[in-house]
């Protein structure tokens, strides 16, 4: 049985089509990344799965039920727009969420204390939520989503606003939940995060699915188009490389030069020609990044190079913004 199944799901808001004919199957025990830029339709899809919104057309099945409403106690959900009762104490808030999720245990208070301890929030059970920092609250919210040990965990932009230490902690928590047997679906617009955790990736753009593949299959399927190299002589003239056939452009980054090939470029041929131009200290084929794959998939339907640049700039901006949080 699949954990989530969407068949031809469409959702519109007025004239805006948020999700268009979306088909999705997430098997039980999978760990899926739902990726796309801001406004791609990720949150709407997740809300549809959660039965917070309802589709205009199409069929949704969650944990074998026709609606998530019937399986809410088996689902853990961390929404993108998440909050807490500011005046409520942390322990009481977690206890309330556990009660709503059907957890009836005489040791609930004790286990909440243990959970808080594990995420580095020991001793905060008696504090009011408003007394906690944003990062600490994020951890409390994640505990609230997983306190009932759900069969399906849906996380909408879970890493948003987290510092690197908390990001690692959350990643470990997600992997732990997955290890316990839970199916995980999480959305992000920060592609490297998906690359680190997911087994399977679903990409959406403007409400439509553009990719639905295993990460390993994506890596083997999408030919790398970037060659990274450092010349042996730092002062070597590399302008000749930019004029080589099949080379789109050369960027200078912190880790050296990046040679971007045109769609039809042959990496092996390009590497051979680079060696002929200048002796490299390092020359390697860059692993295909999800971001590049996404740009390639989306820009195939985009007319101009200008549009591609804008799309990449948009994603880069999103990443930069995320990193600075």
């Amino acid at each position: 049985m699949d954990a989530i199944e969407l068949r031809d799901v469409t959702k519109t808001f007025g004239r805006t089509v948020a999700v268009e004919n979306l088909n999705l199957t997430i098997p039980q025990g999978g760990i899926y990344g739902f990726i796309g830029p801001n406004g791609a339709g990720k949150t709407t899809t997740i809300r549809l799965i959660m039965s917070i919104l309802f589709p205009d057309s199409g069929v949704i099945s969650v944990l074998g039920c026709p609606s998530a409403l019937e399986a809410k106690k088996r689902i853990g959900y961390l929404p993108e727009e998440r909050g807490v009762y500011r005046k409520m104490r942390v322990g009481a808030f977690l206890s309330f969420m556990a009660e709503l999720k059907g957890v009836r245990s005489p040791d609930l208070i004790k286990s909440i204390g243990n959970l808080l301890e594990r995420v580095g929030l020991g001793g905060t059970a008696g504090k009011k939520c408003e007394e906690l920092s944003k990062g600490m609250l994020q951890k409390v919210q994640i505990l609230a989503a997983t306190i009932h040990k759900p069969d399906l965990l849906i996380l909408d932009e879970p890493f948003s606003g987290l510092d690197p230490v908390s990001t690692k902690l959350l990643r470990d928590l997600i992997l732990e939940e997955h290890g316990r047997g839970a199916t995980i679906l999480f959305s992000t617009h920060v592609m490297p995060q998906a690359e680190e955790i997911c087994e399977h990736v679903i990409m959406v753009h403007q409400g439509r699915k553009v990719l639905d593949e295993k990460l390993s299959a994506i890596r083997s399927q999408y030919n790398p188009r970037i060659i990274e190299f450092d010349p042996l002589d730092p002062n070597a003239d590399i302008s000749a490389i930019a004029r080589l056939p099949g080379v789109e452009r050369i960027d200078l980054g912190d880790s050296g030069y990046k040679v971007l090939l045109v769609d039809t470029g042959d990496p092996a041929e390009a590497m051979h020609q680079i060696i002929n131009c200048t002796t490299p200290a390092r020359l390697e084929l860059s692993r295909p990044r999800l971001e590049d794959i996404f740009i390639r998939l989306v820009s195939s339907s985009t007319d101009t190079t200008e549009d591609r640049k804008k799309l990449r700039a948009g994603l880069a901006h999103a990443d930069a913004k995320e990193a600075s949080l």
């Binding site: 809300r47 959660m50 039965s51 917070i52 919104l53 409403l69 809410k72 106690k73 689902i75 853990g76 959900y77 929404p79 727009e81 998440r82 909050g83 807490v84 009762y85 500011r86 005046k87 409520m88 309330f96 969420m97 009660e99 709503l100 999720k101 059907g102 919210q141 609230a144 989503a145």
Partner: protein, 454 residues
């Protein structure tokens, strides 16, 4: 059901356990208690001494001696005692008992020190304009209080419509001094007229004066002295209880909804419960809070009435109907308030949508006196069947001196239940869509569009 109870419990505890709720609950009885204690001191005339000179131009030449007598300190003291006796005869016997059933010196002394008037006379042919200037000179030890010009026909009036005297006073003249002078002057003129007609004053007094018997209210089980004002105050008190209970509850629901939406906790909740469970839980929790408040006020009210042995005046079935009407009004008001809370982005936007609702619910208050004084009028009957204010209007009619027939009461209750159903239906539709809507401030047209689309 467990989820509804869990949400209701949280809502109840989150409010009841706060200092603000306890203060809010006790503030009304506290204000009444403070007012009851402070009012006698605030309005006491103990420290107000009337003292000064009255200049009289008496064209009859016969009223001034009477004025000397009526403004005499002993006469004023006797007049005050008589007034206190009359006032006391109107209060319930239990209150009268507190005073020891006698007009003692304390009651009279509450009216302030006995005024000290000095009468100075000017010849009848004096220049009035010159005399008026006397008022603009105010010696500190004996202020010039008033210039009194008594007309020639004051004793034998040519017409009953024309005034027989003129009273001139300085600026910033105190109304208590004015009352005291007018009262003494009237008595002096009446005395002069009685004397002029050679009538025996004691005969007239005997004709005019007799103690007025208090009316007796006859109830099914007993009869007791009518308490003046009770029939007017009872609808007001019941209306206030209903208004405070529902407005307080509705306001709390709106605030809590706005807070949950603006703090984005609502989507976290929706991951665990359905919008309907959330709405029902919140309505139930707040209902508990309102019932605690209303129960406290009802118990306080009954204790007060019982303390003054006035409990027999209260028809206890009214409390039953108060609770029924409260439940109906609460569901209407609470649902509508909650739908507003779910639709708006912040408290400021809520004000705009709340205002028309508040105006509608204020209508019975504007019509309180017309309805309770004339409960059978077309206006009163119409209002008591017109949702959402029918519950207020019907309660005002029921607590008036002419209660409506029972079938009208139950028709109003049925209409109320129907309107509560419609309000919940409307709120549920708005609730489902509004909860996750952020951005542009909604108006009533937006809400109706949401209801149609959901």
């Amino acid at each position: 059901m467990n989820n509804i109870l869990a949400i209701a419990k949280r809502e109840f505890l989150a409010t009841v356990a706060t200092r603000a709720f306890i203060i809010g609950l006790l503030i009304l009885p506290a204000i009444i208690a403070i007012f009851a204690l402070a009012a006698p001191r605030l309005f006491s005339q103990k420290n107000y001494q009337i003292k000064g000179e009255i200049l009289v131009i008496d064209s009859t030449g016969r009223i001034t001696p009477k004025l000397q007598k009526t403004f005499d300190r002993e006469t004023i003291a006797a007049r005050r005692e008589e007034e206190a006796r009359k006032a006391l005869s109107n209060v319930p016997p239990q209150v009268r008992q507190l005073t020891g059933n006698s007009i003692n010196k304390n009651i009279v002394s509450e009216l302030g020190p006995i005024p000290e008037f000095h009468i100075a006379e000017m010849p009848a042919n004096s220049d009035l304009e010159q005399a008026k200037k006397w008022l603009n000179v105010q010696p500190k030890d004996m202020p010039h209080l008033a210039l009194l010009v008594i007309h020639k026909d004051a004793i034998e009036p040519a017409s009953l419509e024309n005034p027989v005297y003129e009273l001139y006073v300085p600026p910033n003249f105190d109304d208590r001094t004015d009352n005291e002078i007018q009262r003494g002057l009237r008595e002096a003129i009446v005395n002069a007229r009685i004397q002029a007609r050679s009538i025996d004053k004691s005969t007239i007094f005997a004709i005019m004066n007799f103690p007025s018997a208090p009316s007796v209210t006859v109830t099914q089980n007993e009869q007791r002295q009518t308490v003046k004002g009770f029939n007017i105050m009872l609808p007001a008190v019941f209306g206030l209880l209903l208004f405070m209970g529902t407005m307080g509850g509705g306001g709390q629901l709106l605030n809590s909804m706005v807070e949950e939406k603006s703090s984005r906790v609502v989507e976290v909740l929706l991951s665990a419960v359905s919008p309907m469970e959330l709405m029902a839980g919140k309505l139930l929790g707040q209902l508990g809070i309102s019932l605690v408040g209303m129960g406290l006020y009802i118990v306080l009210g009954i204790s007060l009435l019982s303390g003054f042995a006035l409990l027999g005046l209260l028809n206890f079935s009214l409390i039953f109907y108060l609770i029924i009407f409260f439940l109906i009004t609460y569901l209407v008001m609470g649902s509508l308030m909650m739908s507003i809370g779910a639709a708006v982005n912040d408290a400021k936007e809520a004000q705009g949508l709340m205002m028309p609702l508040m105006i509608v619910f204020m209508i019975p208050w504007i019509l309180w006196l017309p309805i309770s004084r004339n409960p059978g009028s077309a206006l009163s009957v119409t209002m008591s069947f017109l949702p959402p204010v029918n519950t207020f209007a019907m309660l005002l009619r029921m607590t008036s001196n002419t209660p409506p027939p029972l079938w009208q009461v139950w028709l109003s209750i049925t209409i109320g239940i129907g309107s509560a159903y419609c309000a919940i239906w409307f709120a549920a539709k708005v609730f489902r869509i509004g909860l996750l809507m952020f951005g542009k401030a909604p108006n009533f047209a937006t809400l109706i569009r949401w209801v149609r689309s959901s």
